[in-house]
Symmetry: C2
Subunit: 190 residues, 2 copies
DNA sequence: ACTGATGTTAGTACCAACTACTAAATGAGG
DNA sequence: CCTCATTTAGTAGTTGGTACTAACATCAGT
């Protein structure tokens, strides 16, 4: 019994095909040392589509992803906002955001969430970060839902001061104080 | 002459196929009201591969993008490093990094470059950002090459202090002071 | 009006990578 | 030994092509 049992083989098959969708039945049959027909029966039972359909699917999916990635301009989803006063956003920690080793989110994603929120809360044509003091209190992990709240403390002479607090299940994980530079209609008066 | 001339048709063909790689010769022949053979001759002359190859190409390209995006773990390319002392990285501002309105790079990308560099320069199994004070001195624009330099000032009691300066053509655009928390082999002794 | 070049269409044989189906061989367990 | 599950073999048909040959069609120039 050099080969696998049906059950075993099918589990491995799922894994192989999902990590490399470009495998033909022929290649797979060589890998598992079974006939092509067996592979086809397996795919049938497991509802795995044929090579071409898999590739097509990948191609379709990925053209979609390009869109959602250029929308990654803003990190986190804004769930409440009152311009020039405060704003709330939600950021869910996904695989791409964490260190593989320990599943902890890279700091710059938490920063990015806070920074995006600061840009969004300022109701002016131009808003750029001027400076920030930030603190990472607890690490955020894969799957965590981070709620970030920005509060505008003051807006004077083209500089807004904003405080941000990010929490996971009510626990503070990040806080920061941002100074934003802005210009806009009011510029004529100043 | 309801149809197009050869020249015209071929130009349109390129456009159609590049905007939608999923078109079969049959669909294309209907669109241009010519025979399938004509479409095939056109593809041959224009070096346009067949449907399946086009799809495969898209799929491959995009799976690469995913990889390079999850490799976006580190923002910027490290060009010189001496562990626990200093490190240099290059970050080129691309379309995805800027505000569409004014082509200015979002602050969190400059932060991410600096932050990644701080993580990289610490030669310990775990290194997390604890706090940072940062300043954005001048905006970085589309196409700019940002060189970031991190210098480790001290490493004591699991906390490293690092200063970072980022420049575009010798001009300072960003600076920051990072505190990194780290643990490693030395943990047993502490 | 005839000739030639260019462009278009038709048709055949072949390919990869399948699906869908039937049928036979093999194995492992009771 | 028998039996049921599993595996293999083999055939016909599909899609979306390549590669090639041959037959038109069209128009331009002489």
């Amino acid at each position: 019994m050099a080969k696998y049992k049906k059950r075993e083989r099918q589990e491995l098959l799922i894994e192989r095909v999902s990590t490399d969708p470009f495998l033909t039945d022929e290649r797979l049959s060589e890998m598992f040392e079974v006939s092509i027909q067996t592979i086809r029966l397996d795919r049938l039972e497991l509802n795995i589509p044929e090579l071409r359909e898999r590739i097509k699917h990948v191609a379709r999916e990925e053209t979609d992803k390009i869109r959602s990635l250029s929308l990654q301009e803003v990190v986190g989803e804004i769930i409440d906002i009152e311009l020039n006063h405060h704003a709330l956003s939600l950021f869910i920690v996904e695989e791409g955001h964490v260190f593989r080793k320990n599943q902890i989110a890279r700091g710059h994603y938490l920063f990015a969430q806070a920074n995006s929120l600061c840009v969004a809360v300022i109701d002016e044509p131009l808003a750029l970060t001027k400076s920030a003091q930030i603190e990472f209190i607890k690490p955020a992990k894969l799957g965590d839902k981070v709620i970030s709240k920005a509060v505008v403390v003051s807006m004077e002479g083209r500089i807004a001061a904003i405080t941000v607090e990010s929490k996971i299940e009510q626990r503070l994980v990040f806080k920061g104080r941002f100074e934003m530079y802005y210009t806009g209609e009011g510029e004529k008066n100043g």
